[in-house]
């Protein structure tokens, strides 16, 4: 009964999963922004660091993870699951996988929210989560992939709308990025060491970091923009051709721009310049997208005037335009020299996040939820309020941060006529910024309030309406029409399709193959120290380093002295790549809220560090650094020390068997030495406290090359 198969097929769209992700988006969004406001406050009011679990270093990654993976992530899934079904005229592939995807993703978020404050982190930005969670992420992502491609396969619409291309690119690239940047060697369930070391780790990290921004915060949103904006304005996208064109251009160029995060680092010059060139080239496709979006609204500005949802979209697109113009500018070496490590970068990121991601998410939610719940928005007025409060919030956030970033960047480089640093004391620059940081916190708060209003408004809307869990529709089957044609007409066209699938499959195979094959080889090679005097960390220093990682010191202190007079003057000898060969992971950092620590070793006596960690303001009055009393109470856990050392050996760090065997012994000896030194300075502390390890590490930092002279 073939004839039957050609009848219109009745099927339905799964709105429930969309609803779930939407709700998750709202909740996590508010949470993430709240944490944001808290850490913003901590940056001018150290007292806001409550207990070790609420200290800046630990909850800053919580903020980034919450907004990127919880808020934006859930928003993406909501948007994709809604538009994908409709664009392909097919119900989502597997209801089970959808559920698994949803609950899996929420579990990941909850785990992140637990582990990060506990200080369980890899310290790699946007990839802080430890290896068990990484595995879970991989699993959930695969489920998402199967669901997406499954739906594509059983679609009833032949043409893949441009949005879907963006989704596909997102899936594939993020998968690869996540895999490559998660090569960790577990020591325990909660601790692992990065396989890559130093410069190499840095390169991988920023190849990842950059492309995460590209393919998690940009491409999926462009995809959603191309679906939802036309729907909202009820007019086709300005130029579909352009959309296709700039899609291909964007994904081909984006991948190469990563190195611009490491300008003036010890990365080879040509690699840096490469990053710069491609970053500049990125302007074209990025603006292609923005212009296409804005021009879609041409002749509809009257609509924009009364339709707040469109207003959100306009701000989102404008933000995208600004950010994608600023990005390449920031990658110009001379601008980067000033902006890098300052609040400028923070401002840049937040223009993108608050306007582009945030506002588009809001617009989509406002559009989506009333539709799925067969009702109209609970309060049009509150939407308007949200828009204005949010916009003002963005302004209050961005402007002060730009000023702050520029000011600090300039102050660092300021020399007196006599040729000494004008602001030799780093703290001078920090104090300058306090008012700006206060304003920033205010901006953030406004934005948060907006989000809360939205939450109230949308939940009210959900309660007043009722969700059509399965939206019944009908469409002609594509498959058997096509198939029967294809079979009969151009029998060769199956040839056309097979190679494609084969190619992709083989590519993925090659990809994995090359990884498996290459990693060991280069690991061995790359760890031949290039500077003879650079030695592995002692067990105590290594433990200290792990505490440094746990407390997230890296989020305020860089360990990379760039080759500028202003920096060598301030910190000392500029960094060499050979110094990092034993750093699993690298700790260069990306922001200097406090001074660089690359040459910290030996600068101050042990006692200074002791007091400073106990109460920073005692050593440097007005410092915004929180105090770390718990380091003085908690005993250093040496149960894993031996494993750590041997793990490092596996990664190619030259420890010998003896060192491994006597790791703990060695540790205690060094601890006692430090205790003794402190005692000389009238400070009593038992040698098994964590602070000892921290001091050991800090005093070691960047000292090796001095031994040469």
């Amino acid at each position: 009964m073939k004839v039957e198969t050609i009848q219109l097929e009745k099927f339905s769209y799964d709105n429930k999963i969309v609803r779930n992700f939407a709700v998750a988006t709202i909740i996590w969004g508010i949470v993430g922004m709240l944490v944001g406001v808290i850490i913003a406050t901590q940056l001018f009011e150290p007292a806001a660091n409550i207990t070790q679990y609420g200290s800046f270093g630990r909850i800053r990654p919580l903020h980034t993870n919450a907004v990127i993976f919880a808020f934006v992530g859930n928003a993406i899934f909501a948007g994709v699951y809604y538009s994908l079904q409709r664009l392909l005229k097919a119900r989502i592939f597997s209801g089970f996988l959808s559920k698994f995807h949803f609950w899996g993703w929420q579990t990941i978020i909850v785990l992140a929210a637990i582990t990060l404050p506990l200080g369980i982190t890899t310290s790699k930005e946007y990839a802080e989560l430890e290896w068990p969670i990484d595995l879970l992420i991989t699993l959930v992502w695969v489920a998402f992939g199967i669901n997406m491609f499954g739906t594509i396969v059983k679609r009833r619409e032949r043409h893949l709308y441009v949005a879907i291309w963006f989704y596909i690119a997102t899936f594939i690239t993020v998968a690869v990025l996540h895999l490559v940047n998660s090569f960790e060697l577990p020591i325990s369930f909660f601790k692992s060491y990065m396989v890559y070391a130093g410069v190499q780790d840095a390169l991988v990290q920023w190849w990842y970091g950059h492309n995460a921004v590209a393919f998690f915060l940009t491409t999926p949103y462009l995809g959603m923009m191309y679906y939802f904006l036309p729907k909202m304005a009820n007019r086709p996208v300005y130029s579909y051709r352009l959309s296709i064109l700039h899609f291909w251009a964007l994904i081909f160029i984006y991948i190469w721009a990563g190195p611009h995060h490491l300008l003036y680092s010890t990365l080879p010059d040509w690699a840096q310049s490469l990053g710069v060139v491609f970053s500049i080239m990125l302007i074209a496709p990025s603006w292609g997208g923005m212009i296409n979006g804005l021009l879609t609204l041409r002749g509809a500005w009257d609509q924009v005037r009364e339709n707040t949802i469109l207003k959100f979209m306009v701000v989102a697109l404008t933000g995208y335009g600004l950010a994608t113009f600023e990005g390449p500018m920031l990658s110009l070496k001379n601008i980067n020299a000033i902006a890098h490590f300052t609040d400028w970068v923070v401002a840049h990121v937040h223009v993108g996040a608050l306007a582009w991601n945030g506002f588009m998410t809001f617009a989509i939610l406002y559009w989506l939820i009333p539709r799925m719940f067969n009702t109209s928005i609970f309060s049009e007025k509150l939407v308007k309020i949200h828009f204005w409060i949010g916009t003002v919030g963005i302004a209050f956030y961005a402007i002060p941060m730009y000023i702050s970033g520029f000011t600090q960047g300039m102050m660092w480089k300021q020399f007196t006529p006599e040729g000494t640093l004008q602001y030799g004391n780093f703290l001078d620059t920090t104090l300058q910024l306090i008012p700006m940081h206060q304003m920033r916190a205010l901006g953030g708060t406004l934005y948060l309030i907006g989000a809360i209003i939205m939450g109230y408004n949308l939940f009210k809307t959900m309660f007043q309406g009722h969700l059509t869990e399965n939206e019944a529709v009908e469409a002609a089957p594509l498959q058997n029409l096509e198939e029967q044609e294809v079979k009969a007409l151009h029998w060769h066209s199956w040839l056309e399709r097979r190679p494609f699938q084969l190619l992709v499959a083989s590519l993925i195979a090659i990809l994995i193959g090359s990884l498996v094959e290459l990693i060991p080889t280069f690991m061995v090679k790359s760890n031949v120290p290039t500077i003879s005097s650079v030695q592995p960390y002692t067990p105590l220093e290594l433990e200290g380093r792990d505490i440094y990682i746990r407390e997230g010191c890296v989020s305020c202190h860089s360990q990379l002295v760039r080759p500028f007079r202003s920096e060598t003057e301030r910190y000392g000898e500029f960094s060499k790549s050979g110094e990092y060969v034993y750093d699993h992971p690298f700790l260069w950092g990306s922001k200097r809220t406090g001074p660089d620590l690359q040459r910290e070793g030996g600068k101050y006596p042990h006692s200074w560090h002791f007091n400073h960690m106990m109460d920073p303001s005692s050593m440097s009055p007005g410092s915004i650094m929180p105090s770390y009393p718990w380091l003085f109470e908690q005993n250093l856990n040496t149960s894993k020390t031996q494993d750590k050392i041997s793990a490092m050996k596996t990664l190619g760090v030259p420890y010998d068997a003896y060192q491994i065997k006597n790791a703990v012994k060695e540790l205690n000896t060094q601890a006692r030495e430090i205790q003794a030194k402190l005692a000389e300075e009238k400070i009593k502390i038992s040698p098994d406290k964590e602070i000892i390890a921290v001091i050991a590490y800090l005093q070691r930092l960047g000292t090796d090359i001095k031994k040469d002279q």
Binding site: R158, F252, G258, E474, E496, I519, F522, K525
Partner: protein, 67 residues
């Protein structure tokens, strides 16, 4: 900097797979019509109707009557 080998090969392979996707999209006629799809997405999905009236066009007299 052996890591660069890996990163570049991975990125290059990624790019290649995207190229493959592009070639497929052209060959399989994805790019044939770059006007209509933009408009098509604006059409609301057709909800199934319980009783369908079937029209047949009677030639030679310009009425369209139900059958």
């Amino acid at each position: 900097m052996e890591i660069i080998y890996i990163l570049i090969s991975i990125s290059f392979l990624l790019a290649l797979s995207f190229l493959a996707a592009f070639i497929w999209s052209v060959k399989s006629g994805q790019q044939n019509d770059l006007v209509t799809p933009a408009m098509r997405i604006l059409m609301e999905d057709s909800k199934p109707i319980s009783e369908k009236i079937n029209f047949k066009y009677e030639s030679r007299n310009d009425t369209i009557r139900k059958v």
